[in-house]
């Protein structure tokens, strides 16, 4: 079984079916990029993977564990599955250090004080922001805030990271620094599933591209192949529209 096993997932909001039977497998260490037009269900799928959204049918397993099951301890699962959002969602009333160490100290993985600060410095060094440890989110640029959000996620020691259009809210000149951090993570072997509009990143970093259209996986495959020879007209149109 794959590390992440998404099988026939259906999800509706009211009468609107957003996911119409999605099946995707992700192996450990893979970087899977989900692309597609807005409204194709990409972000919803990502939110289903860590249990933020319930599903109507099908199943999602992470490391064999069913996400949408009453017996599953979602909190425990979420310590292994980190998510980074488009809007960063940092806690504005806490310093960068507290943003990062709040969850690890509350879940008792790390002692407050020196050990927590060391953890914060450690993950901040991975996103190149050690010097901002005592800053408040509002004192940082959008790109820096997003890097802190990634660091906060890393502090949980996740085995899988989800990225939901993490560069979409950023000024164009700030996109690069965030993508670079993500490339570094990819190189270190982190398993990642990301929804993005950054086609160059998808092309160069992803191990697999999933093209979603109208709530279904329309095409998937290695980036070089998929971008060179799109099999369907929808993907062809999508690729040319993003150039």
């Amino acid at each position: 079984m794959s590390f992440v096993d998404i099988r026939n997932v259906r999800k509706s909001f009211g009468d609107t079916e957003v996911l119409k039977g999605v099946t995707i497998n992700v192996e450990k260490g893979e970087i899977v990029t989900i692309i597609g037009r807005s409204g194709s269900g990409k972000s919803t799928l990502l939110r289903c993977i860590n249990g933020l959204e319930a599903i109507n049918d099908g199943e999602i397993r992470i490391n064999g564990e069913l996400v949408h099951d009453k017996a599953t301890d979602l909190r425990h699962l979420r310590e292994k599955v980190g998510i980074v959002f488009q809007q960063f969602n940092l806690f504005p009333h806490m310093t960068v250090e507290r943003n990062i160490t709040l969850a690890p100290t509350l879940t008792k993985r790390v002692q407050k004080g020196e050990a927590a600060r060391k953890l914060a410095l450690d993950v901040l060094s991975r996103v190149g922001l050690e010097q901002k440890i005592d800053a408040y989110p509002e004192q940082l640029s959008g790109g820096q805030q997003q890097r802190v959000a990634i660091a906060r996620c890393l502090a949980m020691g996740p085995e899988l990271m989800l990225f939901d259009e993490v560069t979409s809210a950023l000024d164009p000149e700030l996109v690069g620094e965030v993508l670079k951090v993500m490339e570094d993570l990819a190189r270190q072997g982190m398993t990642m599933i990301l929804v993005t509009h950054e086609m160059n990143f998808a092309r160069n970093v992803a191990s697999k591209i999933v093209f979603m259209h109208a709530g279904k996986v329309h095409e998937q495959g290695a980036p070089a192949e998929l971008f060179a020879n799109p099999a369907t007209s929808e993907l062809k149109n999508f690729i040319s529209s993003t150039k």
């Binding site: 860590n50 933020l52 979602l74 909190r75 425990h76 979420r78 310590e79 980190g82 998510i83 959002f85 809007q87 969602n89 940092l90 806690f91 504005p92 009333h93 709040l102 969850a103 509350l106 879940t107 906060r152 949980m156």
Partner: protein
């Protein structure tokens, strides 16, 4: 007949202790209940939500004066128990405070973007941990100016307790007025004392609003 003297003024100042007592009781009992109301109103549990809403609707729809009358004059009639003035007044003010503070705080809680509780949940925090560390501190900031504003209203509203005979500031003014036949002076003093208490609070509320606006 005697004129209005400084000692009449001192008697009024002395009565402020009862005004203060009422306010403190209302806050000490109504505050925690208000927090409970706020949490019930923002909870996903439909039953809790409806209970809180019904309480709120009743309290919002009935004048405070009516509640005071009910607990003081009504209780002996309906339940056959005579309650001391201070108790009945305290009960009425506690319910009043719980309902209105609850509603103010619910507004604060719901003004914190849902993304924040999602982020907390995604980091493996329990709902309580998320509320305690992420939502509540932000909601507190948002609701603080309205809370102080309510406090000012509460202080002035304690004057209603005078109708059941509790000698707080307003009642002391009445008594002084009746004894001296100088209503203008007496009530001017009452007004001045209320103003002296409330003015700093409204100023504080305003400065908080400015400060918090900058932070946000």
């Amino acid at each position: 007949m005697r004129g209005f003297t400084f000692s009449d003024f001192l008697t009024m100042l002395w009565a402020v202790q009862w005004t203060a007592t009422l306010v403190l009781i209302a806050l000490a009992l109504g505050g925690p209940l208000g927090l409970a109301m706020a949490m019930m109103r923002s909870s996903r549990n439909v039953v809790l939500n409806v209970i809180a809403l019904v309480i709120l609707q009743i309290v919002q729809g009935v004048p405070l004066l009516g509640m005071l009358m009910f607990f003081y004059f009504g209780m002996p009639v309906f339940l056959g128990i005579q309650v001391p003035a201070l108790v009945s007044v305290s009960v009425a003010f506690t319910i009043f405070t719980a309902a209105f503070l609850g509603e103010i705080w619910r507004g604060g809680i719901q003004a914190v973007h849902v993304n924040q509780s999602e982020a907390a949940a995604c980091l493996g925090l329990t709902r309580w941990q998320g509320f305690r560390h992420v939502i509540a501190p932000q909601a507190f900031k948002i609701a603080l100016p309205s809370t102080v504003n309510f406090l000012v209203q509460l202080i002035k509203n304690t004057s209603l307790a005078s109708i059941v005979g509790l000698v707080e500031l307003a009642r002391a003014g009445q008594l002084a007025s009746a004894a001296t036949f100088a209503p203008l002076t007496a009530y001017a003093c009452v007004a001045a004392i209320y103003f002296a208490i409330c003015f700093p609070l409204t100023q504080w509320s305003r400065s908080l609003e400015k400060k918090l606006h900058v932070v946000r």
